[in-house]
Each structure stands twice: as structure tokens, then as C-alpha cells.
């Protein structure tokens, strides 16, 4: 490996006695380096550079200085006869790459004994996703991101190394600039409808992100103790650099979203029932979403608008209902830095118009990051991220009133514009089917209101004092304060809200997380030049609070006036009280923690690390003991330092083991009663149907990991491979009991989940010339998930369902979770389908049909640069997962699916046998047959969710400096970007395999009646002004 070299230009002369040596340490760009360790070789005398990169030390001409700085090659500098030195340190490229690890502690990448992946901000900020988490899709081995089809700013389901536990909400802890931030999902749709209200990570402006570091294994995240089980993602926001002067950068991004039609419905038969066209308006209205009419013949037939239209395939199909969405994002950032301080301030505005009419998102973010050396060796840092987020009309999803996406199920001859304007002459809803709970899409889009807004301040202030060149103390306070409002209106004239002028709901919640921590760090040779100890100890106090109120105003008195004062009946209460189920229970939690981490480095090739954290929770019964200790050990062995292998630049073997625990929810270990609504003045009380959790401790997760990192041929080819084996124990299951037991749910400490997997990241630069380079990278994840234990009886743990209600997902013992449980065809011993006496297919009980979580996934990214051009594209893939599709159900039930063409006019005689074994001969009218089939054989709706997609393409051009010349610009970069451009492979007819109406693990892989997927095309322009 590259031995430290003396920079030429330093003359080494015969020895001269001098009293004081002064110097400055800079990086390759000439920027001063602060806090660089300077030591006189062969002594313990040392100092470090100040804020200007300057140091002074006593010595003579024979003195040799050892100059070391994290991330840079250590250098030995003979002083010679110079009294003033300028020492340039070289960042030793990848080999001494510095990574941010837990608690924000920076470490040399090579010394880390566990897997982590850093994603740079420039991969996230060009083709912008409204939720930055989506941009991580396909980029990190082990990380699986699933979106929600709910419009801009929808939530992400983020799974690191598989489905960690049997909990329905799981995902990593996000830590921004060292401070944990709230990523609570703000409400999801269920089988009965609802909307996706977004999550916490969606608030972050991608333009502000410097890096995101994914700490995958438990050893990596163990320092976060009980919050580490889902992994940790560290976000570092951009900051100013000292002595950088004043800089201005402006980034403008415009993106268009175009609906991406996945349907391939039949186009031969039109609206109607049992082969009959609607004869009058009433018939048209009662068959508004049924394509069981006769063959399209071009005749004139009444539609739901009361007018006659040609009975032929319309070009005004559902896709015309949706608009071209657009998102315009503008970010200005100012940076500055002098000798003692630096700052960055950015202002950003994102304005989105969704594809769903009358819907959109506006997000304004203000980000400040400032640091200042106050006195010698004391630096303070202030970070503030203020977010104003306004969502207009979050789209209704799944099955419930107010969902405009039912427009997707019109018969082939039905023009979507016949549903417009969605109102009758008196302003009330014009229903278009015989089901009043299926709201007219226009009425849903233009009359329903589902607005939410959020004000959020994520702030932290920290102070770091260097006690000696090798030790520091740091204190930090972080505060994440979120205020959410939600306003929902079921408008006057809504068909299913009878006898009143509608209802409205207002909800306000406050979420805060306060963290105060202190960290002492020291790094010192225990045995000089042989054994080094790098150690930190610290403590943290966390206080979390969540509370709010909601008010429903029901039965509005005056029409069209949507205010609380207008409710004939008002209901109010705390979030989660029995009369309102709008959100979770209030929560209040304090956790006191202490932790340590210690790295023992033998020379620089063997590093043994250990960490431990002790968490003491307010929410755990005292009787169960004081708290939890979560230890980790890891080792990093850089074998390439010991032996030389041809072509191998770097080789590391790493091993780790950790045990962590899950958090304990507040308020669950006591029996509570609540005062119920009085009945004609008589007071009443009730209590939860959930039995309290008085005796149980949170579960533990143990993980063993082994991995290697290899770099060949001057870093032209590199591998990072990890194998992990993780298992949970004593997961608290909220088991289902029957009402007859007095409670519907009780906690039992029984479940266990195993995830074993392999992560591979391959990166390389096969071609690198002066003007052209090609850098592909490929990642691959294989996960073998298995539910080892469920409840004490080994029963399935139910998760979610979709509106047809004829299938569910569940954790099933000994199978990968979550499984789709559906009714399949009942077959005889020879495999013939059995039909009942009415000619309809019989079904099995619900049986496991496969997991909704992929077994293999990953991405393949390619970056090409040619002179000032660059081209990048990302392909990602998923294999081995199933999807439960309500769209498929409805398409069969409503006669849209091509399979319903068979026997359309003749009736269907199902191919199979009767119970007695005779050939089935009963002819069933097509509509009856397929509707019964769709209802009964839910296995038909279980589809293969595998896909390969061209996820992102970006093409950029930087205008050469020679052209910019005397212009005010230092650089201008123009990029054309596209997201979700091409589904290269899929197996799901009529739907996008990624479709999902809710982000919770309980609804993973379940789709239906949500916002259609989009292709995104955009233009990004970045201007950096001259200083």
C-alpha cells in the first residue's frame, strides 16, 4: 500500500537548530485542514492545527513530523531547515474514505467491521422524487423501498435486510446531522379507504442532502440501542466550508408526470348487465361500472349523463380523467466561510400539481447549517431545518367514499367525461353506479376536501471542545417539533351521506422529540505504533411526545358551509379516544441512555470494536427490571496489508455480532378505563378491547454478519459482499382472541423471525480515459425470510386485506412473511376443478399463496462521462414476490378483464367435475359465473410481482469554463432526467406490480383503486455563481 511520501519541494538540508516550527496543513485544493494531528516522530509531543489549518511546534532540523488526519494519508515530514511549512495532505481516495457511523462518529471506512453504504446527494437531487426515500430504490444492497400510489409526498415502506419483525410498522431510524428525526407515517389507507398522509422523511429537501449513510446490520446501528432493530439511515445535510468565501448556487427543476396505463382490458363488450344495454337512465346509473352488456355495435345508448352516446370503444377513457402532473422545484443556497466559521443557508420551494385533478403539494424548506470556532478548540454548530408542507386533496385510495380513482373501472364504451361535472343541477353528487359508496370521481376530486399541512422545525445545536489533540467532549441538543393539521370535508350532497348536508373533520396533532446527549471521545496509542484505542462514551436523554385533538362536525346545518360551527352534532376528543379512530393513541415517552464504543486497532490492519448501550424506558414496568443492554462486537481485518496479492489493492474481512432490542410503546402496560359518552345524562365508561401488556419486555434481535471488501486494479473493480443471519426472539405479538374471551387482542411474547441473506455490491470503472469513463455498479440482495414462531398456538398473525375481503395477508409459521392467504380452486385428486351444483367453482380454505416481499432485489447503475457530458441510468429489479390485486378482482367482477370474454354470449360451462366426479355440464350466464368466481376464488387475484424497470435516466451537460468565460457563473449544469420510464419485465396484467395503497407492512403487496403510476420527465438546471 502507498507509503506516506514526502511532498517534493521541501528541501531537506543539514540540521539547523531552531526553536519553533510553524506550518499550515492544506488539502489538495489548498483548503486549510482543521484539527490535523501533528506529532514529532519518536516522541509523544504533539499539537493540532487550528481553525486556519495552522500549527506551531518546537523542534529542530532533524525533527520529523507525523501529520495525520482522518480521511487523508498520514505523512511523515522531515523539517530540515524550513521554519515555515506548507504541508499538503492527499485524500487517499477510497482506501481512507471516511464514513459517518452511529452517533455521528466518523471512522475510516477500512476500519469498520460491518456493512454500510453511503449514497451521495447528487444521486438524489436531479431526478427528484417528492419523497427522497424513493430515490434510494435500487441503490443500496439490503435496502428495499416501496412506494405508495397516493400522489406526491406519499409514504415509503423501507425495509433493511428484510421484514425484521412481525410488527406492521417497521423501518429504519432516520438520524439527521446526529439527531434522530421523526418518521412516523401520518395515516394510511386501509381496505375501507382513506388517504396516504405521508411520512417524516418526505419532508426533507433532496437538494439539502450531502450524503445518506445506510447502517444495515445491527452492529452498525447498535449504538442506537432499542431503536436500532430496523436499521439506521444517517442523513448529513450540506454545510459551508471554512475559508471558502461567499458562494451562491441556484438549482431549478421542472418535472412532468404522465399517467402510465397498465390496463389491458377487453374492448368488445360495453356497459350493461346480462348482455343487455342500459335502456334508460336508471339502468345506466345502476350499471355504471359493469361491462356485461352486449357486443359493442356502435348504436346509440344512454349513458350516466342522460345523453345518448355511440355504443363503441371510447378514446375518452379513464386516463383522460388524470392531468399531466408537474413539479417545479427551486432552491437557492448561500454558502460562506472564513477562518473561524462557515454557514450554508438554503431556501427551497417545491410546487406540485398532481395527476389527480384538484390535488397537489407545496413544500417550502429553509435549511441553515452554521459552525463557528468560538474560542480556541471550541466549535459550535447550529443546524435548523424548517419545513412548511401543504397538501391539497390527498387522493382517496382503496375502497371508500371520496376516492376519485374508481374512474379506472369504466366499461369500454363509457367516456369518462360523461361523469363530469359529478354533480346534479342541485349541486348534489351524481352517482354513476348503484353503489353510493363509490363516489363519482369528479365529485370526489372537486367536492371532497382532504387537506393536510405540516409545520416542522428540526433543529440541533452542538458544541465540541478539543481537550487535547486526542480527546474531545461534545454536547448536543436536538429538537424535532412537528405540528400537523388535517381538514376533511364530506361535502353537501354526497350520495352516501344521507339526510344531512355533510360532515367535516378537523384534526391537529403535535409531535415532538427532544434529545440531549453528551459524548467524550479519545484516541490514543496504548502501545506506541502498535495498539491504538479510539473510544467514546456518552449519554442521551430522549423525550418523545405525541398528542392532539380532533373534532368532527357531523350533520352540517347549512349546506356548503364547512366550518365547525355548522355542525348539528359535534364530537371531539383526544386522538385515539373511543369515539374517534382517526389516529394513534397519545404517546409520552422518556428514555435515558448511556453508551460506549471502543475500537482497538492493531497497527492499521486489525481493528476490534465493541459498543454497548443501556436504555432505560419510562414505558416498561419497573417490575421487569431497570432496562436493556444492547452490545455489539465487530472486527475488521485488512489482510491486504499483510500479504501482497497481485492486482488486489485492498482486501478486508469483517465479522460482527450484535444484540439489540425493540422499543417499548408507551401506555400499554396498564389497564385503563375511559369515560364514554353519557347516554341521556347517565354516565358510562368503557375500556379497551386490547388486554394490557403488564408482563412483557420488548423483543431482542441478534445478528451475525460476515463480509469482505475487495478492490482490484487501482480501484477499477471492487466488491463488497456481506452475509448476515439475524433472528428476533420473544417478539410481542398482539394476538387475536375472540370477543368471547372478553378482549379481542392480548399480548404474548412469542414470535420470532429469521432473516438470512446475502448482499453484493460490485462497482467498477472498466473504461477510464482522459475524456471518457464508464462506471457501472451493480447490487444484489437475496433474503431468506422465515417466520419461526407466531403466537403460542402457532396460528397465523393476520395483517391486512383488500376490499373484496376474500383474501388477507398474514404471518404464517415456517413460511416467509407476509403470506397472501387466498381461496384457491378446489380440485379432485387428478387436479380437476370441482364445480358445485349451480355450476360455480368450489374453493379451498384460505391457503398461503406466497410472500409479498421479494426474495431477490437490487439495481444496476451505469454512469458514463464524456468530456462535459454525462449519462446515467439505473435499472432495478425485484423477484419472487406476490401481489394481491383488487384491480384484478374488480376487472373480473365488472367484466373488464379479458378472461371474461370466454363464454360471454353462450354462458360458461366450467371445465372440471362435479362433487360426484362427473363432468361438469352446468351452463352459467357469464356475468353470474365470473362474478361468483371473482368472489370465491380469490387466488385469481394473487399475481406475480416480479419486475425489471428502467428506474432512472439522467443526461447532463456542464457548460465548459471556457464558454462561461467572464459570465457571472462558475458553472452551469443542465440535466434531462426521467424516472420510471420503462417496465422492462413484469407479470401482472392490468397493474403495475409496485402498486400499493398503503405503506404499512400489513398492507404490503395489496393494491387497488389508487392513483395510477406515472412516468416522470424533467429538466434540472444548476447554476453556481462566481465567488
Amino acid at each position: 500500500n502507498a507509503a506516506p511520501k514526502v511532498k517534493s519541494g521541501l528541501n531537506i538540508n543539514t540540521h539547523i537548530s531552531i526553536a519553533k516550527i510553524t506550518g499550515k496543513v492544506v488539502d489538495e485544493k489548498g483548503e486549510p485542514l482543521v484539527g490535523v494531528s501533528i506529532r514529532i516522530k519518536g516522541t509523544t509531543t504533539g499539537t493540532q492545527t487550528d481553525a486556519s489549518g495552522v500549527f506551531s511546534i518546537d523542534g529542530d532540523s532533524k525533527t520529523v513530523l507525523i501529520v495525520s488526519y482522518i480521511g487523508f494519508a498520514t505523512k511523515e515530514v522531515p523539517v530540515g531547515n524550513k521554519t515555515s511549512l506548507t504541508i499538503t495532505l492527499t485524500a487517499n481516495t477510497n482506501l481512507t474514505e471516511v464514513v459517518v457511523t452511529a452517533l455521528g462518529i466518523k471512522k475510516e471506512s477500512k476500519k469498520v467491521g460491518y456493512a454500510l453504504t453511503t449514497v451521495k446527494g447528487d444521486l438524489l437531487d436531479k431526478a427528484k422524487e417528492s419523497n427522497v426515500a424513493y430515490s434510494l430504490t435500487g441503490r443500496v444492497a439490503g435496502l428495499s423501498i416501496s412506494g405508495t400510489n397516493g400522489g406526491a409526498g406519499s409514504s415509503a415502506r423501507i425495509l433493511l435486510r428484510g421484514v425484521t419483525s412481525t410488527s406492521s410498522t417497521q423501518g429504519p431510524l432516520f438520524v439527521i446531522n446526529g439527531v434522530p428525526m421523526d418518521n412516523t407515517q401520518r395515516g394510511q389507507s386501509g381496505e375501507w379507504g382513506g388517504a396516504d398522509y405521508g411520512d417524516g422523511i418526505a419532508n426533507i429537501n433532496p437538494d439539502d442532502i450531502e450524503t445518506m449513510t445506510v447502517l444495515k446490520g445491527q452492529s452498525a446501528s447498535a449504538l442506537y440501542g432499542t431503536r436500532a432493530t430496523g436499521g439506521v439511515i444517517l442523513i448529513t445535510t450540506k454545510s459551508g466550508k471554512k475559508n471558502s468565501g461567499f458562494g451562491v448556487e441556484y438549482n431549478s427543476n421542472y418535472q412532468m408526470d404522465k399517467i402510465y396505463d397498465n390496463t389491458d382490458f377487453q374492448t368488445q363488450y360495453g356497459q350493461g348487465e346480462f348482455g343487455v344495454k342500459p335502456a334508460n337512465l336508471a339502468a345506466a346509473l345502476s350499471t355504471g361500472s359493469l361491462a356485461w352488456g352486449p357486443k359493442l355495435d356502435g348504436s346509440s345508448v344512454i349513458q350516466v349523463d342522460g345523453k345518448n352516446h355511440p355504443y363503441s370503444k371510447t378514446s375518452d377513457d379513464y386516463t383522460k380523467f388524470y392531468k399531466t402532473g408537474n413539479t417545479f422545484t427551486n432552491t437557492v443556497s448561500l454558502t460562506g466561510g472564513n477562518e473561524t466559521g462557515a454557514f450554508r443557508l438554503s431556501l427551497s420551494d417545491m410546487n406540485n400539481h398532481a395527476i389527480t385533478p384538484n390535488s397537489g403539494l407545496n413544500r417550502k424548506t429553509f435549511n441553515f447549517n452554521g459552525s463557528q470556532t468560538v474560542i480556541k478548540n471550541l466549535d459550535i454548530n447550529l443546524v435548523a431545518n424548517y419545513i412548511l408542507d401543504n397538501e391539497k386533496n390527498r387522493s382517496g385510495l382503496s375502497d371508500g367514499p371520496g376516492n376519485p380513482n374508481n374512474v379506472q373501472f369504466l366499461a369500454p364504451n363509457q367516456s369518462q367525461s360523461t361523469l363530469a361535472p359529478g354533480t346534479k343541477a342541485d349541486g348534489s353528487e351524481q352517482s354513476f353506479t348503484n353503489d353510493i359508496y363509490v363516489t363519482n370521481p369528479y365529485f370526489a376530486a372537486y367536492n371532497f376536501v382532504t387537506n393536510s399541512n405540516r409545520e416542522r422545525l428540526i433543529s440541533s445545536i452542538s458544541a465540541r471542545y478539543s481537550v487535547t489533540p486526542w480527546a474531545y467532549v461534545q454536547g448536543r441538543i436536538g429538537y424535532d417539533n412537528i405540528h400537523d393539521k388535517r381538514f376533511r370535508v364530506e361535502p353537501t350532497g354526497t350520495a352516501y351521506v344521507s339526510g344531512s348536508n355533510g360532515n367535516l373533520k378537523i384534526q391537529q396533532t403535535q409531535t415532538t422529540e427532544f434529545n440531549a446527549d453528551v459524548l467524550l471521545g479519545a484516541k490514543h496509542d496504548l502501545i506506541k505504533d502498535f495498539l491504538n484505542l479510539d473510544m467514546s462514551v456518552g449519554g442521551n436523554i430522549r423525550k418523545s411526545n405525541y398528542d392532539g385533538i380532533y373534532i368532527n362536525a357531523n350533520n352540517l346545518i347549512l349546506p356548503y358551509f364547512y366550518d365547525l360551527s355548522n355542525g348539528a352534532q359535534r364530537l371531539s376528543g383526544n386522538i385515539g379516544s373511543d369515539s374517534g379512530t382517526l389516529d394513534d393513541d397519545p404517546k409520552r415517552l422518556q428514555v435515558n441512555s448511556a453508551y460506549y464504543t471502543a475500537d482497538f486497532a492493531v497497527k492499521n490492519f486489525l481493528i476490534l470494536s465493541t459498543s454497548g448501550r443501556y436504555d432505560y424506558y419510562s414505558s416498561i414496568s419497573k417490575a421487569l427490571g431497570p432496562g436493556f443492554f444492547t452490545p455489539s462486537v465487530s472486527a475488521s481485518f485488512i489482510f491486504s496489508d499483510l500479504t501482497h496479492i497481485n492486482g488486489l489493492d485492498f482486501g478486508k474481512l469483517r465479522l460482527s455480532y450484535a444484540k439489540t432490542s425493540s422499543a417499548a410503546a408507551a401506555f400499554t402496560n396498564q389497564v385503563y378505563y375511559s369515560v364514554a359518552n353519557s347516554i341521556n345524562g347517565v354516565p358510562a365508561a368503557t375500556f379497551s378491547s386490547q388486554l394490557a401488556n403488564t408482563k412483557l419486555k420488548p423483543y431482542t434481535l441478534t445478528e451475525f454478519e460476515i463480509g469482505t471488501e475487495l478492490k482490484f486494479f487501482n480501484d477499477r473493480l471492487g466488491f463488497d459482499i456481506a452475509y448476515f443471519d439475524r433472528k428476533t426472539k420473544n417478539e410481542i405479538v398482539n394476538a387475536t382472541s375472540d370477543w368471547a374471551a372478553g378482549y379481542t387482542n392480548y399480548y404474548v411474547s412469542s414470535a420470532s423471525v429469521s432473516n438470512k441473506g446475502i448482499e453484493v455490491e460490485i462497482h467498477g470503472t472498466p473504461v477510464r480515459t482522459n475524456t471518457f469513463s464508464w462506471s457501472p455498479s451493480f447490487n444484489f440482495t437475496y433474503i431468506n425470510n422465515k417466520i419461526l414462531e407466531t403466537d403460542l398456538e402457532g396460528a397465523n398473525l393476520g395483517l391486512g386485506t383488500y376490499r373484496p375481503l376474500n383474501a388477507t395477508t398474514a404471518f404464517v409459521k415456517d413460511l416467509p412473511g407476509p403470506q397472501i392467504m387466498a381461496n384457491d380452486y378446489k380440485r379432485d385428486a387428478s387436479g380437476n376443478i370441482i364445480f358445485d351444483a349451480t355450476g360455480n367453482a368450489e374453493t379451498t380454505a384460505r391457503i398461503p399463496m406466497g410472500s409479498v416481499v421479494p426474495k431477490f432485489y437490487g439495481g444496476f447503475n451505469n454512469d458514463f462521462t464524456y468530456k462535459n457530458f454525462n449519462l446515467g441510468f439505473l435499472v432495478d429489479y425485484r423477484f419472487g414476490n406476490k401481489v394481491l390485486s383488487a384491480t384484478n378482482y374488480y376487472s373480473i367482477f365488472r367484466g373488464l378483464n379479458k378472461m371474461t370474454l370466454e363464454g360471454r354470449e353462450t354462458g360458461v360451462v366450467g371445465v372440471g367435475v362435479t362433487e360426484s366426479g362427473a363432468k361438469n355440464a352446468v351452463n352459467v350466464p357469464a356475468e353470474t359465473y365470473y362474478q361468483t368466481l371473482a368472489r370465491n376464488v380469490s387466488a385469481l387475484n394473487v399475481l406475480d410481482g416480479s419486475f425489471i424497470k428502467l428506474r432512472q435516466v439522467s443526461f447532463g451537460y456542464s457548460i465548459p469554463k471556457s464558454i462561461l468565460g467572464n459570465s457571472p457563473f462558475n458553472s452551469i449544469t443542465v440535466s434531462l432526467v426521467g424516472r420510471n420510464l420503462w417496465t422492462i419485465m413484469k407479470h401482472t396484467d392490468n397493474i403495475d406490480p409496485e402498486s400499493n395503497f398503503a405503506p404499512g407492512v400489513n398492507y404490503a403487496g395489496i393494491e387497488g383503486t389508487s392513483v395510477p403510476p406515472v412516468r416522470t420527465y424533467g429538466l434540472n438546471v444548476n447554476f453556481k455563481f462566481k465567488k
Partner: protein, 510 residues
Amino acid sequence: CTKNFEQINTDPTKVAPTLISAPFLMAQAQIKFSNSGYDQLLFQSMWSQSLASTYDYYGNGDKYIYAGSGRDYFSRTWNTSYGSSTLIDEMKNVIKGNAAFSNLDNCGTILRMMILQRITDAYGDIPFSQEGQAKDGIVAPVFDTQQSIYTSMLSQLEAATAALDVSKAGPSSDLFYSGDVSKWKKLGYSLMLRAAMRLTKVDPATAQKYAEKAYAGGAMSSIEDNAKVKADNTNGNGNSDAAALLVTDDFREVRWSKTLIDYMKLTADPRISAIAEISTGTGKKANETQVVGVNTASLQVGMPNGYDLKGGATDIANAPGYPGTSPANPAVTGDADAPVGKYSRPQFAVYDDRNRYNFLMTYGESELLFAEAATRGWSTGTAATHYANALTADLQTLAQFGTTSVPAASIATFVAAHPLIAGTALQQINMEYFVHTSATFNFNETWANWRRSGYPVLTKVNYPNQFATTIPRRIPYPLGLPSTNAANYAAAVARLSGGDTFIAKVWWDK
């Protein structure tokens, strides 16, 4: 800094065990149990042919076909009832051993028996002896046989009723009787009578024994003793039947059944104008407009069960005696014909009142049961007297809705015109039970008494794809049981002849 942890971990919005007032739980159990809404409308109300409907999700009750969320409805009566009994169980836990609450405890037992009887009558063998004990670790209770349940129920009712002490305080949060212990005592004996009379087919000896005990003990003696609960819409406990019927589809297409209206017309029952009406205007719009209709007795027509609006053989237009559509009103834009507009609906002002009373057990029912016991020759007084009392009470009871009534003169005339006749006594008594429990919207009772007595004599509806080959006599167990309580569920199903179906009979329904 951990000394506040206990306080931090206390939910500020909930009541700690030390603060709870146990009697409050009883009121919650009463409102929850009485307010059954769709629980009884979807199945029981139409199996008993009290109501009829052409609308889709009523297919479960009207036509014995799965409609709407079909199988999911099996659990409704079960869940609501056990959800109510658990409140009583917990109340009894809280006051256990506290002599000051002995009346509350015994009232709790009486209410609990009332609740559990509804469950066992609907499903058969059910968790009884181990009901509501998840707190003590029993999350999968055994299913007791209905026979043992009835044995226990009768003796528990006997003990609890006898132990009520009228000189001591009654329940303080009591929606039945505002804490009047003497009324609770009468309820206890009337419930004992009702439970006893369920056994007439299967165990007449026990039935006689307890019917006579009830008579001796002192059952309900006036309509003031009726066990009923008034809903309170303003405070979030609106009447669930009303909420259901006010849904546009339900309002437009739920009608009194032909079986009921025909019988009432046959007997010139003056209650017809107190419970039935047709819409005032014509056309679909009028049929959906939620206002008081026309209650003239001669205009009332019951809808036959088993019809729909689908234009086929079972379209209501093809029903015998179809009164024709209620034609569209040309003055109303976009109006259409109302195909069921001429059939009688439950009166809007009465049954769609969100503050309406729910009746659980009435003096009239009690008297009818005594009348039947006496007819059977048991020592429970004079059948004819009980019957006349019942008729008077039943007609007067409607006034307790507060939104309708039968004129006193009509009551006297009707009672005088319908004396109990020995040869037709059982029929008269049980047909009155049918009319009365229908008129009070207590369809669980209508259906149970039909299964027991055979009255009214009902004709099964025929329709494609039915889930039952006879009129359903049982509700299958909730679909979740095989996963939540597999072994006990399987054992209970094994005891059912014909399996876990709608047509298997519960023990007393021999």
C-alpha cells in the same frame, strides 16, 4: 431523572383503575347490547319475515344469499353481545367482594344472562363458563353445550333475582330503570320465564318448573317494567337501527314484510297505522325523501320476501299482488319510477328516530309467555287474562317510542275483539309475539320465538345460490374462531348435526 417515569407513562386521557366508577360500565353494556342495528337487520329481521328488502346487502336476510360482506356478518351478533358482557364481567371484577355493591352485582348477573342468552340462541353452544376471562389467562374459552348453559342460566337468574334487596341502593348508571331494584327483580323473573319457555320443545319439565318459579317470584306487571334503552344521538349513541335505515338505499328499499302486514290486516290490527307508512309523494325522489309518510291502514302493503330489482324472474314487479310502481313525478327533474314505492316502510318518524328506544324485554312478552305456560296447563295463572293483558300492553307499549301511539279506544276494541280461544291459543299467542316483537324492532326475539313455536308459519324464499335450504335457524360461528379458538371451535362444530351451517338447529330447537 427517572423518578417521573411512572407519571410519564400514564396516559393522561384515560381513567386509571383507582378512579373508575364501576357502575358506569353497566350503562355502557346496556347501550351497546341494546343498540344492535345491522346486527339484527341483516339476518334476523328478514329471516323472521318481519321486514323485506329488494336491496343488495339485505340479500343475506331476505333471500339467504351472501351479499355485501356476507360471511363477515356472522360475527355481528356474537361480537356486539360478548363485547357487552365483557363490560359486565369487568364491572363485577371491580366490585368483587364489596357488599355495598351487592345489588349492582346481581343486576349485573341478570343483564349478563340476558346478553348470553341472545348469543346462545343464535349460535348454539358458546363460551359461557369461561366467557370473558382473558384477563385470567383464558384466551381460548371452551364452548359449553347449550343445555348446560340453560341449566346454569336459569339457576343464576334464580339466585341473582332472589338476592336483590329492594331496601338497598340499586345500580347508579342504569339505563333500564334508573336504579329501581324492584323493577330489576321483575326483569329477573321475566327473563327466567323467557329462558324457561325456550325449552318447551326440548325439556318441558324444566320449562314448567322455572315458568312457575317466575310466576311465583313476580315478573313484570306493567309496561312501566319494560326493559328498554333510549338512544342518545347528540352524544354519539344514536340508534343503530335508525342509522342503518337512514342510509339512502336502506330507506328506499327496506319494507315491512308481506307476512307481517297481511296478518295485521287480517286481524284489523290498529297498530298498522302506528308502525307503517308509504311515502307521501310519488317517484324515486319522494321515495328517498326522509319525511313522514302516509299511514292510512288501507294503503299499507307488505313486501314479499325474496324479490329484487334486477329485471329477471325475481324482480319485484313479478311478485304476486305487486301494487305497481310509484310513478315518477314529472315536476321533479330527473325523477324515475319507484318500483317499491307503494310498499309500506317502517314509519320514518318512529323507526328512523336516532334517539329511539330499543326494547329488550317487555311486560307484553312476559304476559304472552305466561299465557302459553297456562295454556300448557302449568300453574302460571289464567291464559286468557295474560293474553288480554299482553294485547293491551303491546298496543300501549308503542306509545313508549314517544313518536307514535294507538288510540286508547282502538286498543280496547281490538282487545275485546280478540279473546284467547282455547283451540287456537298457541297460534294466537305466538302470532302476537311475532307482531309485537316486530313492532318493537326486537327481531332477535321474533326469530327465536318463531324457531321455538313455529309461528308465524313461514314459507321459505327461493332464489338462486342460497346458502340455506330452509329458512335459517342458526347463525354460523364467526369466521375468526377457527384461528382464535381452533380446538374449542372444532369441538363445538362436531356436536352440531349438519355442521356449522345456517340450517343446523340449536339444542332447544329440536
